[in-house]
């Protein structure tokens, strides 16, 4: 990621598609696990990159080189996600049943995990996904979520305990 930060600072337009290539999968699947919704995860992933590009356009080279790209992208994505949920709760949504599952790149077991993750509260779910699905460190999660390290650790701990409980109930 260090090299990408440098490449972005030198030539934003040329390096940005590489960022999308490198980070898109992690961003999309993280958001997908947090929302259990393909369309929402896809919209948020695209919007996050578009916001990031527009912001980077206004930053000087030093600032771009120094930034922690992944946690910064997650900060944008999580903020957008919060607003997205708020916007959606203000108006009713209709889901066309026949559209469900089409173009869905879901992997085996994914839906089972969505059901389990749905039992966690929002903070626990975000922290567990960032830590164990994406594989981010505590410091980066702290930066991305704006929550203190101790709180993040507790969210992960309680989240995992809850998942264990849910899975024991399944058998």
């Amino acid at each position: 990621m260090d090299n990408i930060g440098y490449a972005l600072a030198v030539d934003l337009d040329n390096a940005f598609p590489e960022v999308v290539e490198e980070m898109g999968t992690r961003l999309y699947w993280g958001l997908r696990r947090m929302s259990a919704d393909h369309q929402e995860a896809e919209d948020l992933t695209q919007e996050t990159f578009i916001r990031a590009y527009n912001a980077l356009n206004g930053y000087d080279r030093q600032r771009i080189r120094d930034m922690k790209l992944e946690s910064w992208l997650w900060t944008i994505a999580l903020n957008l996600g919060r607003n997205h949920v708020r916007d959606r709760s203000r108006r009713p949504t209709w889901v066309e049943l026949e559209d469900l599952g089409t173009e869905d790149p879901e992997i085996a077991d994914g839906h089972a995990w969505d059901r389990r993750l749905e039992c966690l509260n929002r903070h626990q779910r975000t922290a567990v996904v960032l830590r164990h699905v994406i594989g981010m460190g505590i410091a980066d999660i702290t930066e991305a979520t704006g929550r203190p390290a101790g709180t993040v650790k507790a969210d992960i701990h309680r989240g995992l305990a809850k998942l264990k409980e849910v899975m024991e109930d399944e058998t």
């Binding site: 598609p17 990159f49 173009e103 077991d109 699905v133």
Partner: protein, 252 residues
Amino acid sequence: MSIETELSTLLGKLPDGINEGVALGTGLAEGFDLYDSAIGQVAVTFNPEGVSSLDIADVGFEDRFRSRFERPLIRAEAPGSWARHIPSAIEEGRPGKLPVDLRSVTKFQADVLGRTATIPRGEVRPYAWLANEVRRPNAVRAAGSAVANNPIPLIIPCHRVVRADGHIGNYSLGGPDNKVDLLEHEGTRPGWLEGLAAQHVRFRGDSSTGVVCHPTCHAVRRSEKANVVGFRSLKAAMDEGFLACEVCRPCC
């Protein structure tokens, strides 16, 4: 397998479309779509700022676009907030509510094209008029090359700009035959314009109102035939006490 290990396998592949969606949304690539026009199917390119080019939708279109604009091109739907204005802008020959992106040309050229977009359907203006409208009356050739390099023909109606001698002149979008077809489609008769030019008539005035216009200005076209007088120059009309029309602003 522990819960932690199982969670780490929950990453899949990146869905198709995200890369392209980001490229279009950031403007790193241009989108294009096909539309009908009076001279056949055309390809319109766009980015978040607006419509950026229009060309004949033939096999060479994508290559011409890439060599001129040096940008990636993706087949896509235009942004929903203004996509519906594209067909009417093509048919009416003016941008109207459609945002246009003229960042590919210079400020002067954008000014010239902005004035070109105000020429009403059914009318034509000479190149010198455009130069005068952008307050650079001596830059007639530069105005001519701005029009010749118009990235968004049809929507910015450069087919309504003709030579001062009444010949309809060149046309970038598939050649002069298309220009004739477009003018006829809009009710301007190129043969009639050339007939006037053969008689050295470059302006027409209405003797009852004392106003002199470009020959195709709708003001003078509404005049009684018996009152219409032709002039070789604006000065000749002024010498007879005619005033320049405030709508078409004849100048040269």
